[in-house]
Amino acid sequence: MKSALDASHLHQFFHKLFTHLDRVSLSAPSGEILYSKGLSSIDHFTLPQAGSVANQFFNLGHGDLAITNDPYSGSAELWSPTLIMGLQLKTSSKASRTRSVHQSFLLSYRKTLMPFVSAKDNIDSEGLRIPPTPLGQISKPQTETIDAITSHPQAPKQLRSAIEDGLAELEKVSQTLPLLLKIWEVDLTKGTTKPYLKASEDSLKELIADLTSEEKKFSLEIEPGEVIRLKLSVKNDRVLFDFLGTTAGSRIFQTLPVTHGACAEALIKVLNAKQVPVNSGTLSCIEVLAPKGCLVNADYPKPSNLTHLDGYYIFCDFLLKSLQQMTRRVQYASSGTSRCAISLQFSCGQIFYDSVPPGSGGTKEASGANGESLWWKRSGSPSIESIEKKFPLMYEASTLRGNSYGSGLNPGGLGVAKSIRLLEPATVYWNNLKIEKKPEGADGGKAALNGEILVVHPSGEKVKLIDQGEMRLEKNTLINLLGPGGGGFSSDPKV
């Protein structure tokens, strides 16, 4: 039991150490993940992976910095730059009374910027792609490199401040870490981290033992000819996600670390496990096989925009529904999978982005949450007053979308609906999947409404924005973003 107590203590230390950062990981140069946390499972693997790839190129010493936003170098969305810093800690194990040694770690921290919705045929047309790039030392960052990156015509406007804020946070962590190690009386030697990872693995394996060992097959056609095939099996308390037979993508192109993270998150959800540490121990309970070039293991230079908007939600929902067939522990109805994301470009050059959160599906235990995705931690909507002061638009509504939920004993959550009136002409960009299937109910619960984007021109003509594209809009056009609801769980005896 001592190993569990020590592991619990170390996990609490990591949790507290990073409590103020939302997307961060600490890993060893060997690739061993000690801690990873994010806004979604996309971050589970991509954060440490971005660190590993940067370290392969630059062998990051203490305080050395690098930056990347390239999904094909381990990062995630193009609009979220990852900063990586090498750390060297003087560690000595109290238990073994060994001499102190210097141990190396990689700290990866991701900042989230405003997406730009686009439908391009390769990633380099979607926005500025930053391959792993050295940024100097935390004590003296290379301002020339930062200037060069942030002055690139494709660079988002907020990139400079995001980098500066990120570097300040990394500096703070590097300064407080040695002190906090003392306060918590922990060390990060192999003698401590190895049992921690083993205890993490053992605890998850105990839960996995509840899954059926019977092999099961599933498939999902995203768009005609774009099919995910999945074979699920459990061997030696490890879950194998075998995507053999999955086609190449036509619009969804997901990198392997993103796929791996989604598999881990869906498994955690279906096991109903609380506070699962994301580290090499727990992640070793999952094996993912995906042929190179298929839509869940995409290659450069495939575009990534749609994957990080709607594709990822659809994939996670599919994984959850599939895994539910392996256990009766938790049962979910489907959650809304479309964000109904748009970008607006005004003639003055200002770029605006908005989307709507979906409702989540009802479960055996509870109703679905309103305007809350199962797969993305909500950080709150921006203030309407601030947006209206900054951009030439006016919100006519931002509210829960009545009747978007699927009914049931435990009904699904409501999606959010927004109506935006343009006060100046603008070009709207959108990129959606042609999903005909509504968010399904489960165990007799009803399906929810799908997401929709509707444009009402000043003439009164209504146009539904489907698939992908861009359109010039006049002043006074109304754009309605109608978020999908969540499916209901179990039939309602009153109905």
Binding site: W184, A273, K274, E385, A397, S398, T399
Partner: protein, 428 residues
Amino acid sequence: MGISLSPTYFEAAVVKEGDKSKALLSPPEISKRILFPHAHLGPALKDWIGEFKDSVEISKVYIGPHDPAPQINSFFSSLSDQQNSSHAAFLTTLGFESWLEVNHHLSKLHTLLERDLVFGVSERTNARGEVTVEPSDEDIDFLISKLNLNGIKYVAIGFLHSDLNPSNELRLKEKLTAQGFKVWISSEINETSIASQITKDEKERFLQTFLAAQSSFLIQDSVKKLEEHFPSIEFIQVHRPFYARGMRILKNQCLLYAGVDGLYLISSDRASSIELSPKLWAPIEKNFFSTLEFSTSQSNFDSGPMSFGRSTQVTPFDLLYALKLLGDVPGVNDKIHERSLPRIQDVLRAEAKPLGINDDELSKLLLGQLQASWLTELIHNNVGNEVLVAGPLSSAIFKLLKSSLSPLKLKRVENWNDLSSLTVLESD
């Protein structure tokens, strides 16, 4: 006098008028404090005041919630359950009826915000502060009939851009007040609240306005009872935590207020205080590794410490008590149930056994986690050069945080009960 309502206790303090700026570092000439269960507020307060009535005349009593995050205040929930009538209503710009709920997770706290009592009003002010739609008389009359139909008397109004131009809010307030409603408007919330900083956008402004109406609605019975006991005293409801108001906190200083139900970090540059986690009343629970830790969940219902005869789970407060760290806390020690110590020890013993350790070891382990967790939060929050520890549990918390490897310069404010931490006089 200030009365702070917390989940289990009323906390009252008296300060002499005119001593408003000397609160923390120079104790006022007369100041007293008491803690007692809210079930006996009226009689207990009367007895207490009786002790010094010859030397002090109480002229005003400010009363409000203690918790800085009242939307998750279990006290509100419990009061709400006791009320048979409806809640306060929230009136907002038409089309934004769910804005509060979507932004503040209030859907999970349906005891506070009833969706059926949020009404949209056809009105609008644009981002330049120009009124583009005024609420019509017909709409207002219809609204009044809906409020009456629902038995509503307490109303909060939050309109978009009312910070730039409050005329629509003021017009509706005037009409509703004339009809006997008690009304709070978001454009005035920064003036009426005892907040140290102005709330910046509509999300916070609307929330504070609604909570002001709701808290006033919920404590109305308590206030009525107090008014019966003290007919000559004026009772004024406030809706922001005010325990640190008026305390003199220097630029490089922070105040750690060790209250009975929480540890609150307060500094001059923050709009609101931060409650340290784990909370003082957080129950222990099993974690992923099947060991134990104090819950860090924000939404947990805190039923209170075992020491007060509540709950069946040990809380940090109970641990401090069981380890004899609590010390002599006037107004608290006499509220602790005699039989609670063996019960706490039994629970710790039962929880320690499956872990292969004894209850002493478990207690030390949990105490170590608390100490490290709270210190880490202080360090993360850039507490500056000096942390002043004040409040009823300051002795215990000071010892706990001081005895570690803390790099922080901690200074305990002695004789906390001589200090007017409820310096409500300043609001005048």
